[in-house]
Each structure stands twice: as C-alpha cells, then as structure tokens.
C-alpha cells in the first residue's frame, strides 16, 4: 500500500512538472501565433501542420492550448496567494487569540463557506467587468475559508505544544512564536490545501470562462475554447477534446500532488 501511495505523489509531480515545462516553453515558443488567424484554413482536422487542428478562425489549437497554460497557472497561483493571505490573517488571528475572536471569526468563515462558491464568483464578476484579474480575485476570495480553517486548526494544535511553550518561556515574542515556531509546523497542511485549491481554481476559472464571464479575449483560456468549440461540434469534434483534456490533466496533477503530500505527512506523523 505504501508504494501505491507514493505512486500518487509521483504521478502528480510528473503531470505538474510536464505542464509547467509546457508553460515555460510557451513563454518563448509556440508553433503559431495563438491569435494568428487564417480563415482559409479554419476547422482543419489534426494533422502534420496542426497537431491538434485549427479552430473556427483558423488559429492553431495547440498554440492556444499552450498559451492557455499561462492563464491556468496564473489564475491558480495568484488566487491561491489571495486565499492564503486572507486565510492566514483570519485563521492565525482566530487560532492565536482564541476565545471571542475565534468564535467571531469562525462564524464569519462558516457563513462564507456556506455560500455556494460559483455564485459568489459570479456576483463578483458581474459587479466588476469580467477579466483575468477579476477572475483571480473572485476565486481567491473563495479559498479564504479553507485556508483559514486549516491554519486555525494548526495554530490551536501547536499553540499549546511543549516546544511552543518552551519558546514562550524563553521569552520569544509573538512574531517569533508565530513565524519561527508555529508556521513551520503547519506548513505541510498549508501546502496540501494550496495544491487542492490550485486545482479547484483551474476548474472554477474554466467554468467561468466557459460561461463567458471569466477570462476575456484575446487572453487564451481553455474554458472559453470549450465554449467556442460547441458551435462546431458536428464539423470539428476534435476542437472540444483538447481543452477539456488539458483542464482534466492539470486538475488531476494538482489533486494527486496534494493527496500524495498528505499521505506522506500522515505516514510520518
């Protein structure tokens, strides 16, 4: 069973690394310009010139998929940063201060958690016009409760641990206690949450962009490619396959990575 659990981690790591390389390559090289149109060569089936075919404007689907990794990774990374920053403030305050601060902050987190995520994201993009930045902010806010809960739990657990008490007894200040002693201890749980939120971010972004309320043209997005592909389903069925496959692989990679790290930590504990 142990080796089976390690496989989870390795498959996850490999998938994430491959997609990361694809993104890095796309920064310097894509086979065709992602927005380079060629009306004469529209809706071509996959072939030697266009490995994944072309879309309704004759744009190379592979190039758009490659540039889409940049969108997916930046949405994942920055929304996790927002969720982590907000969640750390709330969770650390609740866990460290305890008592009424804990009760108050956690009730707020419960309320935010009970609110269906995509609805909150939809409201936010309705108020502020949809764009890459708004999508990131909206998704980041969704993650604040998850991070807050994990970080609060970690603080509650370690606050009374002997090594923290010892450090306090030796005269460590609040900042030193939090950042030098407590934070390193809860890091692995935070990394697991970050990995799982990363994949959730990619799913939500894809859904919002599919609805036309996420990333806007000309920024390439896998979700919007799926939206555009739907009109050409009988003429170009391959168009709908590649973007969905890449969303799935990316989400799968980060899910497995998160699960794998969690298994590793649980085995050590």
């Amino acid at each position: 069973m142990n080796s089976g659990k390690k496989i989870t981690l390795w498959i996850g790591l490999t998938l994430v690394a491959l997609l990361f390389v694809l993104m890095a390559v796309s920064l310097f090289y894509v086979p065709y310009g992602a927005n380079e149109m060629n009306i004469a060569g529209r809706l071509q089936a996959p072939g030697a010139a266009h490995w994944l075919g072309t879309d309704n404007f004759g744009r190379d689907i592979l190039s758009r998929i490659m540039e889409g990794t940049q969108t997916a990774f930046s949405v994942g990374f920055f929304s996790v940063c927002i969720g982590l920053a907000g969640g750390f403030l709330l969770g650390a305050a609740a866990g460290y201060l305890g008592r009424w601060a804990d009760e108050l902050l956690m009730r707020a987190v419960d309320a935010l958690m009970a609110f269906p995520g995509i609805l909150l994201a939809l409201i936010l993009v309705t108020i502020f016009k949809p764009s890459l930045g708004q999508t990131i902010i909206a998704i980041g806010i969704l993650f604040i409760p998850s991070f807050a809960r994990v970080i609060r739990g970690g603080f509650l657990q370690t606050k009374e641990a002997d090594f923290v008490k010892a450090a306090r007894g030796m005269g460590a200040g609040h900042a030193a206690l939090i950042f030098r002693h407590i934070v390193p201890h809860i890091l692995s749980s935070v990394i697991v949450t970050a990995s799982l939120c990363f994949s959730a971010a990619i799913l939500v972004e894809a859904a919002l962009s599919y609805l036309g309320l996420g990333v806007q043209p000309p920024d390439p997005s896998w979700g919007r490619m799926l939206n555009e592909s739907q009109a050409y389903m009988s003429k170009a069925p391959w168009y709908a396959l590649a973007p969905g496959l890449f969303i799935t692989l990316t989400v799968l990679g980060f899910n497995l990575l998160g699960d794998g790290i969690r298994d590793l930590r649980d085995r050590r504990a």
Binding site: D110, A111, A114, Y210, L211, M233, L241, L252
Partner: protein, 315 residues
Amino acid sequence: MNLAYAARRFVTLLLTVFFVILVTFFAFRIIPGNPALAILGTEATPEQIQELEAKLGTDLPLGEQFLHWIGGAAAFDFGDSLRYSEPVLDLIGARLPVTFSLALLALAITVLVAVPLGIAAARRRGKALDLIISAVTQIGLAIPSFWSGIVLVLVFGVMLKWFSVSHYVPWSENAWLSLRSLLLPAVALSIPQIAIVVRYLRTTMLEQLHLEYVRTARSKGLRPSTVYYKHVLKNALIPVVTVVGMNFGEILAGSLVIEQVFTLPGLGRLLITAIGNRDYPLVQGLVLLVASIVIFVNFVVDLSYAWLNPKIRLR
C-alpha cells in the same frame, strides 16, 4: 435530538442567511459609478437615469434601501426584472422545476452508482478492482462536468444520435421524454459526485471494519456478506448521507453551468442571461434564493445527521 444543538445550528442558519442578504445587497451598491448608468450606458439622458433609479430604488438613502431589501426578501418580493418587466419571483418559479429535477436526477444517479462501487472497493481493498476504482474516481474528480457534458453530447447526440440534445420536455408534458432530455446533463453532473461518494463510502466502510462490533459479528459466525451488508454498510451509510446532502449545493451550483451546455431553460440560463443583461434585480433575487436553498438544505442535513448519529449531540 438535543435541543441546544438544534438551536445553535438554527442561529448559524439565520446568521448565514443574513450574511447572504447583506452580500446580495451591498454587492450591487458598490458597482463602480452608478448602477443605472451602468445599465443604460453613457448615452442615456438624465431623465432616463432618474426614472431607472426610481425603479431600482437607488435614489433612496442607503439605510432605507437596505430595509426595503430585507423586508422584500422576507416576503419573497425581490422586485421586478428590468428586462422582462415581471416579478423576479415569477421568473424564478417558472424555471425552478427544471433545475430542481436536474439536480434530483443527478443525485439519484450518484447514489445508485456510487454505493455499489464504494462497497466493491472496500470489500476488495488493495486488490485490482479497488485500484481501478480509485484511479477512475481520481479522474472523475478532475473532469469538469461541463466538459463531460460536451463529450456526452458529442458521442450520444452528434455521433450516435441516440438523444436529441437541447430539447427540453417538462415532466407534466411527457415524463418519459422529460427523463430522456435530462439524462445526459444529469450524468455529466453526477460524475464528480459519484467519485466523491465512492471514496467517502470506501473510507467509512474500512473504518467500520476495525470496530469491535464487526469482530463480535464475525466471531458469532455470521457470513462475511451478512457482516458487510447488514452491519457495516448500515453504519457506513450514515456519514455518506451527510456527504450526499452537503453536495446538493454543489450539484445545484453545477447545474447552473450544465444548463448552458444543454441549453436547458433553468435557473442557470436565467442567471447567465440576467448577468449579461445587467438585470440587477433578477441577479440579486436569484443569488439570494439559490444560496438560501443550499444553506437550508445543509441545515436540514446537519440536523438529520445529528439525529442519526447520537455521538454528535454531545458537541
């Protein structure tokens, strides 16, 4: 059931609903600039803007507007849609059955498929079948349901032509055709839910297997299948009921997106159209109502879980 627990959960329910009312109110008050201007565009005359402001109620002081919104929400009066000039509640009422039947069908498929798979995975833990189920559920968790919807349309609608896609038939007209029109979207919607429930059921069943009552049942000489189905499954299903109930919200939210794939005339399409039209009263009413339904379902599930499982009453 412990009354204090129920009372505490009820207070949380009220707080959460109040939070939703607050969010839906202020969300549409912080629109950069003037909401009336945002709706009408920059070419609107001052008279037009004034008229729309009066209609939206945004010409009143903020406190008064808020009281209006709370009072209206309590009476299920969310005002009139700007686009359709009909009460928001009527528009929602007309589309609620579509979304609701879709969500219920997806829930039914989830339970029907996930329970046998979860049992099979737990009974054959570590064996090939368990590993295959575990791999497949990982993939199921990663597939966006709107994409599996598109693929289902591609395979069963476009290639095999077994289903006429994007043709919704209401229950009242023809139950069989209605089921057919909802089947593919419901399947797409249930895939990630099946993955969640299978994994959850497998874990809870394996946890039960270590408990003493299982040892007692086994040493009594009961057949393994009797132990599994009569004892373990019964106890393992309690937390699963909670997971299924809690995921109702996710199913409902997912159906908002899936309706777009299959062009079903439900709440999701209404919401997306309303957002596109900047029909703020309609968006506000829809968000408040859908969020409240989800919160209320979670509340009921929580209480029934506490009722089924006495251990939680102590907390």
